[in-house]
């Protein structure tokens, strides 16, 4: 299923003019505060009637100003995780969670209540009312409520913003599973590159109400020439296959003909995974490194060097595992005498790859 | 000249307004009339209302004021008399002589008899007394619809909600939508009397002038045109 969006809407002082397609999987809406992310989500949900535009989910037209089509929100069957919670104050947490259940077609009703409750850690809250929940607790209930409505499209507006890292790590896989198993398209508003890298199938970057970049996550994150996300956030996505889990807690992966070692990940041997290697975590060496602790050494040769505005430069390296980006200082580029075509080793510490940067490879088309 | 304030039973409005206009035109005295239920007016006078003259629709409240010494000695008079009539909504209702033999219950035929409150409002009190005196009350007591004043009873009959009603002759005369079936014998109920008196609040020559004007031939004409009878006796 693909969500296609063409929108224009003007608020006094702000104009939104966006068109993009969100293929199956997770499309992250990325952009600064006030760039129009929530406005897009509201239009998709039918809470905002845009001045003009067309929104369709495959061939189900949700709205089309040209043809006067307008499906009311309750017939769009989507799950909206609101930026500001919007829990029903008069219902218990349990009643909030199951509010959308009865509207789902009988066959599609989610039987995952217990599962979602456990994943979100809200079991002890079930009989309380939202009024006295903590900020993060509210947000978790809001996530659960949307997920349990068995939606055919999920709108998630910064769903993890108020959550601590540990809780984030627990909730993220659930979105992955939704993406892969239920094949529900997810429009996901986020500020966090880690979340983008981990979850996104494609990325839409908004700036002042305009789409400034739009493409697959690999293109957007791996492209060193555009840094809508800031140079710090450049990085490469590597596709690999799990080979084995060693006894000392490391997992061996194979990407191309290179072996990579990571702290144990949950995926079984044979499964395809995706990892993001942030450019700033890669050290380059002109000689084969010896006597040092980093376990992952990827030989390759330099394909490009793009100096940045500051003291840094992004070096692209062609390896058998794919393109690797390394962000190093221009001073090092000079000292090492790096140049296109030169052979070079990328050194990556096992532990530098953060758990939330490792995800299952999305099943859908990218 | 001073302004004279008159407290008068509301049922006298039509006649009194004309007389006041006349007095004002003739003497230049200005007269203000406050119309309300006799009970409300009497209570207000008891509690210090700035009224100079009281015109009540019954004697009971005037008696109360007299007992409390609120009346100027020798000024109380029985000013007006009235009669009680049985009215019908149906213009073709046969006239009847109202006496012990009158079969009111059959006439009602299950409909309501509209009256003012029979325990509280003079028109109702007189009406109940008359029906009791004639031995008709017990037969129709359950059919009586009581209203807060005679005017509303008249309205019930005028609109046809109630086929019959008992009201003052003065009310019936002014309402074309009702037909007078008969008049209750004057001796079947206590005399219907509207007493008037000067109150002890102030002592102005204009008060006496106004009281006199109420008895002037012009006033008599006005009262009688409304169906009242001008009484002669002092109270």
């Amino acid at each position: 299923m693909t969500l296609s969006v063409t929108l224009s809407h003007a608020f006094p002082g702000f104009t939104l003019d966006a068109a993009f397609e969100a293929p199956a999987g997770i499309t992250v809406l990325f952009g600064r505060s006030g760039s129009g992310k929530t406005t897009v989500a509201n239009a998709v949900a039918g809470l905002l009637r845009p001045d003009a535009g067309r929104i369709a989910l495959d061939d189900v037209v949700l709205s089309d100003s040209a043809r006067g089509v307008w499906l009311p929100p309750h017939r769009r069957r989507l799950g909206y995780i609101f930026q500001e919670g919007r829990l029903f104050p008069h219902l218990t947490v349990r009643q909030n969670l199951t509010y959308g259940r009865r509207f789902a077609p009988r066959g599609q009703r989610s039987d995952r209540v217990g599962h979602v409750v456990e994943m979100l850690g809200i079991g002890p809250l079930l009989d309380r009312r939202p009024g006295a929940l903590s900020g993060g607790e509210k947000q978790r209930v809001g996530i659960g409520r949307a997920l349990l409505a068995s939606p055919r499209l999920i709108l998630a507006d910064e769903p993890l913003a108020a959550l601590d890292d540990a809780r984030k790590a627990e909730v993220l896989p659930y979105f992955e599973r939704l993406r892969d198993e239920v094949a529900v398209p997810i429009l996901y508003v986020s500020h966090s590159v880690a979340e983008v890298a981990r979850l996104a199938t494609s990325v839409v970057v908004l700036e002042d109400g305009q789409v400034v970049r739009h493409g697959s996550v690999r293109d957007v994150l791996g492209d060193s020439s555009v840094t809508p996300l800031g140079a710090r956030e450049a990085g490469a996505l590597i596709e690999a296959r799990v080979v084995a889990h060693a006894a000392d807690g490391l997992t061996e992966l194979r990407a191309g003909d290179i072996s990579l070692f990571l702290p144990r990940i949950a995926h079984p041997p044979g499964s395809a995974v995706r990892l993001r290697i942030a450019a700033h975590d890669v050290t380059l060496s002109t000689v084969a490194p010896v006597g040092q602790s980093a376990l992952n050494i990827l030989p390759g040769h330099v394909t490009g060097i793009r100096p940045g505005d500051g003291p840094g430069a992004i070096v692209s390296l062609d390896t058998s595992a794919g393109t690797i980006l390394a962000r190093i200082t221009r001073r090092s580029v000079a000292t090492l005498g790096l140049d296109a075509g030169m052979p070079c080793h990328a050194i990556v510490k096992s532990v530098a790859i953060a758990p939330q940067d490792i995800g299952r490879q999305p099943g859908g088309p990218t | 000249a001073e302004t004279v304030t008159v407290f008068a039973a509301a049922s006298l409005k039509t006649a009194l307004d004309e007389i006041v206009a006349m007095v004002e035109a003739e003497t230049g005295t200005s007269v203000l009339v406050s119309y309300a239920g006799s009970s409300a007016l009497a209570r207000q006078i008891q509690l210090g209302a700035p009224a100079d003259i009281f015109l009540s629709a019954n004697t009971a409240w005037m008696d109360v004021l007299a007992d409390e010494g609120l009346l100027e000695d020798g000024t109380r008079q029985d000013l007006l008399g009235n009669a009680l009539v049985l009215i019908a909504h149906d213009p073709g209702a046969a006239p009847a002589k109202i006496g012990p033999a009158f079969d009111l219950a059959t006439r009602l035929g299950g409909g309501r008899l509209a009256m003012a409150l029979v325990e509280a409002v003079p028109a109702g009190i007189y009406g109940k007394a008359a029906l009791e005196c004639l031995g008709l009350w017990d037969g129709i007591a359950a059919s009586v619809a009581q209203t807060d004043n005679a005017r509303t009873a008249l309205a019930l009959v005028a609109t046809g909600e109630a086929p019959y009603g008992i009201v003052y002759a003065t009310d019936a005369a002014a309402e074309p939508r009702v037909t007078v079936v008969g008049t209750f014998p004057a001796n079947s109920h206590p005399p219907i009397i509207y007493p008037v008196a000067d109150l002890t609040t102030r002592d102005l020559p204009e008060e006496t002038a106004f009281l006199d004007a109420l008895r002037s031939p012009a006033a008599r004409q006005i009262f009688e045109a409304q169906g009242f009878v001008l009484l002669d006796g002092p109270g």
Binding site: H74, R76, R86, G100 | A155
Partner: protein
């Protein structure tokens, strides 16, 4: 009248309670509808409806009663129509209830409307994204959230119905046991010299009953409000 209250007075008390309760309960749904329409919908003639709703508040009760008589009396156009359906107001306690309901209506609508306007539309939006249709949203989100206003409106309506007199006596007159409500009985006593004592006894009863209702509404209101704020 012997004893503290005669049988006729007790009748009036019972009747008043019945009239006020029925008036309040029958009006509540209509008041909610009117309040919702005025608060949230826009439709042609909205100002007119708003004016009509307030009319019984503006008009002297006697006039309202007179208009009711003209409309709902056995001879009135609506009265005739309803009469054929077997619904009769004239000279019945139902008429007293109608008069009380009409008089209480604007008060109820105002209270409920204020509550509806205080409900955050964002919550209703949230419900709609979860698949709830408008009526369902109303029943499961709006209605529970306006319960305090509903209770307030109900108690205002009940109190007003307990005290209503002018419109009632004009419309359905005063038939002991059928349309003689407490205020009519009180009025009766006040008309005759020396009736103050008896009137006072009835006033006391009226006050006690209404205060009990008021207390009940406060308790309910507090519980409802507590539930919503989640304490």
């Amino acid at each position: 009248m012997t004893g503290w209250l005669g049988p006729q007075e007790w009748q009036a008390v019972a009747l008043s309670l019945r009239v006020a309760l029925v008036a309040m309960l029958m009006t509540l749904p209509l008041a909610v509808l009117a309040a919702h329409a005025l608060a949230r919908w826009s439709f042609p003639g909205k100002l007119l409806v708003n004016g009509l709703v307030h009319l019984p508040l503006i008009l002297p009760p006697v006039v309202t009663g007179y208009l009711l008589l003209l409309l709902f009396g056995t001879q009135g156009p609506l009265g005739r129509l309803l009469g054929e359906l077997g619904i009769v107001f004239a000279f019945r306690w139902t008429g007293a209830a109608l008069a009380a309901a009409v008089m209480a209506f604007p008060l109820m609508v105002r209270a409920i409307r204020l509550s509806i306007e205080a409900v955050d539309p964002k919550l209703e939006e949230a419900a709609s994204t979860l698949g709830a249709s408008r009526p369902w949203i109303f029943a499961t989100v709006t209605l529970p959230l306006i319960l305090p206003g509903l209770v307030a409106g109900a108690i205002l309506g009940f109190a007003k119905a307990m005290g209503e007199f002018g419109a009632t006596i004009t419309f359905v007159s005063n038939i002991p046991g059928q349309t003689q409500t407490l205020p009519s009985a009180i009025y009766t006593f006040l008309q005759v010299p020396g009736g103050e004592g008896a009137a006072l006894r009835l006033v006391a009863i009226s006050v006690v009953v209404s205060m009990a209702a008021l207390l009940l509404s406060e308790v309910i209101g507090r519980r409802v409000a507590g539930r919503v704020s989640g304490a």
